[in-house]
Symmetry: C2
Subunit: 251 residues, 2 copies
């Protein structure tokens, strides 16, 4: 597959402590997938400069796009911009437009050095509009730096998504049945071998004590995906399985 690829770097102790449940991964994956950009790796690192630098440099060398979330606010634990600048070997500079945006958004007595820190970007970065709380994100090279608050992150993604080089969208079809994975595994392997351009995933679930299995077909080839889906549907019938509601439907 020649689709563009992407990685997400989640920056934040609050995710690693278990205190906060990330909500940005699935949103990013869904939006990118619709444009044919494949999310291929996610990393979560703490608010530690070296860890961020290392992850950014590993990921930006490997994937078409890297998105980061978190750590661009005004407080002492917001160190993403310093780390991104270090990763790119550039200085942190105060962006004149970003400063103007912040000075317009905040009243005079609210403007202070901590808030103006949110106008600091790695030299050469391009601002990303933040219609929610004004403090902008930015991109540098193939790295897009977003806020961690989901509403703001989503607005920033909306602001840049059409400027990304997309690919053929990845279609997804799924079917859930009351058969155990082990029952259908061998037949499913044969279907997977028959449809090499389709990625078939098998996911077991417990629902009210009953084990069910969801089969997911993903492909950029819509016809092959539908044919694989039909083959799976037939296979389920041949095993005497009953179709069930997908317990994990997101769309």
């Amino acid at each position: 597959m020649t689709n563009p690829t992407a990685a997400l770097l989640i920056i934040g102790n609050e995710i690693l402590s278990g205190r906060t449940q990330d909500k940005n991964l699935s949103h990013l994956a869904t939006v990118l997938g619709a444009q044919g950009i494949l999310l291929r790796e996610v990393r979560v690192v703490p608010d530690v400069e070296n860890d961020i630098v290392e992850a950014v440099n590993a990921l930006r060398a490997r994937y078409t796009y890297v998105f980061t979330t978190g750590g661009i606010g005004p407080t002492h634990d917001d160190i993403t911009t310093a780390a991104i600048a270090k990763a790119f070997g550039v200085k942190v500079v105060r962006d004149a437009l970003a400063e103007k945006i912040l000075r317009t958004h905040y009243t005079d007595d609210q403007v202070n050095e901590a808030r103006l820190k949110m106008a600091d970007v790695p030299e050469g970065a391009r601002l990303i509009d933040n219609p929610v709380s004004s403090a902008p994100g930015y991109s540098i090279g193939n790295v897009y730096v977003f806020a961690g608050v989901p509403r703001i992150m989503q607005a920033m993604l909306d602001a840049v998504k059409y400027s990304l080089q997309g690919g053929v969208p990845v279609g997804m079809l799924s079917i859930t049945c009351n058969l155990g994975e082990g029952t259908i595994a061998e037949a499913l392997t044969r279907i997977q071998e028959q449809f090499a351009s389709v990625e078939i995933g098998s996911y077991p679930y417990f629902k009210q004590g009953v084990l069910s299995t969801t089969l997911v077909m993903r492909s950029v080839d819509a016809a092959a995906n539908k044919a694989a889906y039909d083959a799976v549907h037939t296979m389920i019938a041949e095993f005497g399985g009953t179709l069930m509601e997908d317990p994990n439907k997101t769309a």
Copy 2:
């Protein structure tokens, strides 16, 4: 801090496609944190052998413990065991006890080669009991291989957690107020400088259009953590802030 460290490797296309929301990260972080083991990094990789091998080897060299979730079922996309064996440079072997467990759990007509694949482990692995659906997890070296289904993952973690070398538990205190991060940033920096053994995190939230800020204090030093909490509490009062309910309370 000399606490043991841990990483989580989430293996699965279904997370990267945005279809499934991971539920294991926060559970693992919470259980480990209570034992003084610090979750320091998380990676999500697809069902691709080389990606899994590379991540396992990077993480097991760096952290005290590595936990993996996903990819140990009976279907063609379950390739975790082959990848773990490759990462350790050992063969995949059929474990006699695991096979006996599976043959006891399944009726004779349910036993097939796909299900018996779940008795295959990297040579030298130690089984981890699965009271939910019988197919065991295992550990090899400092790597613990769990199922991805949350109920099974949690049972496997319960089965091994007391055998892990713990550390001083990390205490967590939090306080939420209606002040913007930028308002308190400078004063908060001074409190952070005063309490070097406490990690103070600042997290903005939108709640019904109002921006609030949660301050989280984490430390293995309970007295310092409480003192930092008191200082933050006093600071909020000095700024005329109102305490609010924590919008993100997990415990």
